[in-house]
């Protein structure tokens, strides 16, 4: 096991989350949900701390983190963009919308822009199929997205941080 270089407050938070679930290996997924909720992502060192607390091999934690698509080992951008690639959105042109985001941001799916502003992901059905194709930026939902909308969405979120929207 490598030495942990995480700040003490992060380690304390993780220890606390594990303790809340009685350091039970059976609670691993719930613990990972909370850890990701707090830290935003689950890098290797975080997994090592959790494994130590639960007294299980790191490989088991890593196995679970990489198995489920909800967990991520890389941080997301300040404005995480998710394009719904559920079937309903796909047949209404989600793929071309996704391609347009890739082209405009010059990143691939799973990528983050160099300035950390945007990250791009595809997801499977948010259940707003009546609004297909659907794009999410953070919690905000954009429905019936067309190609010209892509630029507008990016510009809307490129404003300075002080802007509330």
């Amino acid at each position: 096991m490598t030495t942990i270089t995480l700040p003490k407050c992060t380690i304390d938070a993780l220890v606390q989350i594990c303790a809340k679930h009685h350091n039970q290996p059976g609670e691993l997924i719930n613990i990972l949900h909370e850890a990701q909720g707090t830290l935003g992502y689950l890098p290797r060192e975080v997994q090592e701390v959790i494994a130590r607390q639960l007294r299980i091999p790191v490989s088991r934690v890593y196995g679970v983190v990489t198995f489920y698509s909800f967990f991520t080992m890389t941080p997301k951008g300040r404005h995480p963009i998710s394009v719904c690639m559920g079937t309903a959105c796909y047949v209404r042109g989600a793929e071309t919308v996704l391609d347009e985001f890739k082209r405009r941001l010059s990143i691939g799916v799973g990528g983050v822009t160099p300035d950390g502003q945007f990250s791009l992901d595809s997801l499977r059905c948010v259940g707003a199929c009546g609004l297909a194709p659907v794009v999410l930026v953070g919690e905000k939902v954009y429905g019936r997205v067309t190609l010209p909308d892509v630029e507008k969405i990016i510009t809307e979120h490129s404003r300075p941080a002080s802007d509330p929207s």
């Binding site: 059976g26 691993l28 997924i29 198995f67 698509s69 047949v91 347009e100 082209r103 199929c129 630029e151």
Partner: protein, 596 residues
């Protein structure tokens, strides 16, 4: 306090995405300024189903159904409808066929053929208020079970009803409960599978958001009948609203003595907890789901032992999905003989479908088993969008298949869909038109399966990857005739040899499109053509100089600046810059741009 009027506003995820919360806030605010807040009650309900026309506002008791409402319309609704009693005509639903406005849902083609059993309360009650559920006979079924029926009688009633699992497999629910009741252990579990993974299906989420108590009541009934005292809901973490509503409902049920120690004064105890899924399609398989609840990778294991014998923490466990549970309370209150008169000989009751894709009325529908695809697509769904030609309907999600014109009059039930080369699945129903390439659709589903395969067995892990590679090759115009046979043979081998339901059904989208759309595959392979004009590598965009009048609309809408030309002169497409997105074709009023 008794209200004279109720304004029901859809609070489902779809309508919330288009600002239904803003409508609710604006309604409350406007009513307050007019001092009407004690006469009109504003209720955020679950999904009405008619998502295409959302956000929906329904005014009761006159049953007026307003569509595509915005917060700006609220003032007019209050002034005209609430105060003066005049309907706001422009917000009423306009039937495209009859060209007249319908003021209530009974007169709308979308609702006429529907029969809402599992969705009975969605769009009628406030899901965050247990009193409203109780007011519509809620928890009467649980009271009947505890007061008048033995556990064996409950199982017998469910068996007699003919209810089959709505999550995909269609296994008889009563039989499942009977198996679980046979095993004795220190602890047994009732699990609700709410890990809706089929992309394009959202009925389970809508039920949990719109009527969470029906699931809770059914789980308690199941617990009583099989002798379990603990219930677990395995729910997708991506469903925050459903999670919040379930939590509220569980808390309320506990406060009312409907969950916990001594339910309704009997000696039956039952509690419910939530477990969160983390995005894995394979977790819809019950053994994988159980491993995931235990905090491990959601990999399936061989059956037997079945979960009824050894499931969660090696204890007897009964797993049913959300929609299956939602049917249970009605079966108990109205009786198995009421339920088994609905539907076909071997598929009883109704089925909820998420109707989406190239169809006019996207939404959540519930129809009796035995309704035909034609009725669903043309009468309820209102036909194909933009007057295009129907090509196929995909049912059963990534495990299902594509049905065509010739299947339109097949009565929908578990067995007929299987015989037609598809399956019921969880009830996704995606309609496709002439512009959809079936090879690309098959590839899309394989994309999904390859990503979601857990990797445990070779046929699924490696076989699907190979299927995907062959399909990819064909859509890039590099396929060869022998690839068609390769797809068929490999597909059959995967079906026969994969470990779990995911792998055994994953080649279905390929095999069913091969059966029904072989000429499309052949066109890709032999002529290097995509008849639907979807596969980008096989396309070139061309402007016909005789038809182009040089209006410049396409140059202004092209996202890459690939189209050039002077005003009033024919334009040209630069093939190197063109990303083949199709925006120009949609915009051109002179049909001057075509795909070759």
């Amino acid at each position: 306090m008794s209200y004279k009027m109720h304004a029901l506003v859809c609070g489902g995820t779809g309508c919330r995405a288009s600002s239904s919360q803003g409508i609710i806030a604006k309604l409350r605010e406007t009513l307050e300024t007019k001092h009407l807040e004690e006469e009109v009650q504003v209720i955020a309900t679950g999904c009405f189903g008619f998502c295409e026309q959302g956000p929906i506002v329904k005014i009761m008791p006159d049953n007026t159904f307003y569509t595509r409402v915005t917060p700006e319309d609220v003032g007019e609704i209050v002034n005209e409808h609430v105060i003066k009693g005049r309907k706001v005509e422009r917000l009423l639903y306009k039937d495209p066929e009859r060209r007249e406005r319908a003021s209530d849902s009974k007169h709308m083609g979308f609702y006429r053929k529907q029969l809402r059993v599992a969705l009975r309360n969605c769009g009628f009650i406030d899901p965050e208020n247990i009193e409203e559920y109780i007011g519509r006979d809620g928890y009467a079924a649980l009271a009947k079970c505890l007061g008048e029926m033995t556990p064996e009688e409950v199982v017998k009633e469910i068996k007699l009803s003919g209810l089959r699992g709505r999550g995909g497999g269609g296994f008889p629910t009563g039989l499942k409960w009977e198996f679980a009741s046979r095993y004795s252990a220190d602890q047994k579990y009732v699990v609700c599978n709410a890990d809706e993974g089929d992309p394009g299906a959202f009925m389970d989420r809508s039920i949990m958001e719109g009527d969470p108590h029906s699931v809770i009541e059914a789980m308690a009934i199941c617990g009583y009948s099989i002798g379990a005292t603990r219930g677990l809901v395995y729910i997708r973490a991506e469903y925050p609203l459903a999670i919040q509503r379930l939590k509220t409902a569980i808390r309320q049920a506990e406060e009312y003595g409907l969950l916990g120690e001594g339910v309704l004064g009997s000696d039956f105890c039952f509690s419910i907890e939530l477990r969160y899924g983390a995005g894995a399609f394979v977790c819809g398989e019950e053994t994988a789901l159980i491993h995931s609840m235990e905090g491990a990778r959601g990999e399936p294991t061989m059956k037997p032992p079945f979960p009824a014998e050894s499931g969660y923490l090696n204890r007897p466990t009964n797993v049913n999905n959300v929609e299956t549970f939602a049917n249970v309370p009605v079966i108990i209150t109205k009786g198995a003989n009421w339920f088994n008169k609905i539907g076909t000989e071997r598929s009883k009751g109704t089925k909820v479908f998420a109707l989406a894709g190239k169809i006019n009325n996207v939404g959540l529908i519930e129809v009796p088993m035995g309704t035909t695809l034609r009725e669903v697509i043309y009468e309820i769904g209102g036909g194909i969008k933009n007057g295009k030609k129907f090509k196929a309907v995909q049912t059963g999600g990534p495990s299902g298949g594509c049905l065509t014109e010739k299947h339109l009059d097949v009565p929908i039930d578990f067995d007929n869909l299987l015989a037609s080369g598809s399956m019921m699945g969880s009830g996704g129903m995606i309609v496709m038109d002439e512009d959809d390439c079936m090879v690309a659709v098959a590839k899309f589903y394989l994309d999904f399966t390859v990503e979601e395969s857990c990797g445990k067995c070779t046929p699924c892990r490696v076989g699907n990857k190979r299927l995907h590679e062959i399909l990819d090759k064909i859509t890039r115009g590099e396929g060869e005739p022998a690839d068609i046979d390769r797809l068929r043979n490999l597909g059959k081998v995967i079906k026969d040899t994969a470990l779990c339901g995911l792998g055994q059904t994953s080649p279905n989208p390929v095999l069913s499109t091969l059966d029904n759309f072989l000429d499309e595959y052949l066109a890709h392979v032999n002529k290097r053509e995509c008849p639907a004009g979807r596969c980008k590598e096989l396309l070139a965009y061309v402007i016909d100089p005789l038809l182009c009048i040089g209006c410049t609309l396409c140059t202004r809408t092209c996202p890459t600046g690939a189209i050039t030309g002077n005003r009033k002169e024919p334009h040209r497409v630069d093939a190197a810059k063109c990303i083949k997105c199709g925006t120009c074709i949609d915009k051109c009023k002179f049909k001057a741009i075509s795909v070759h």
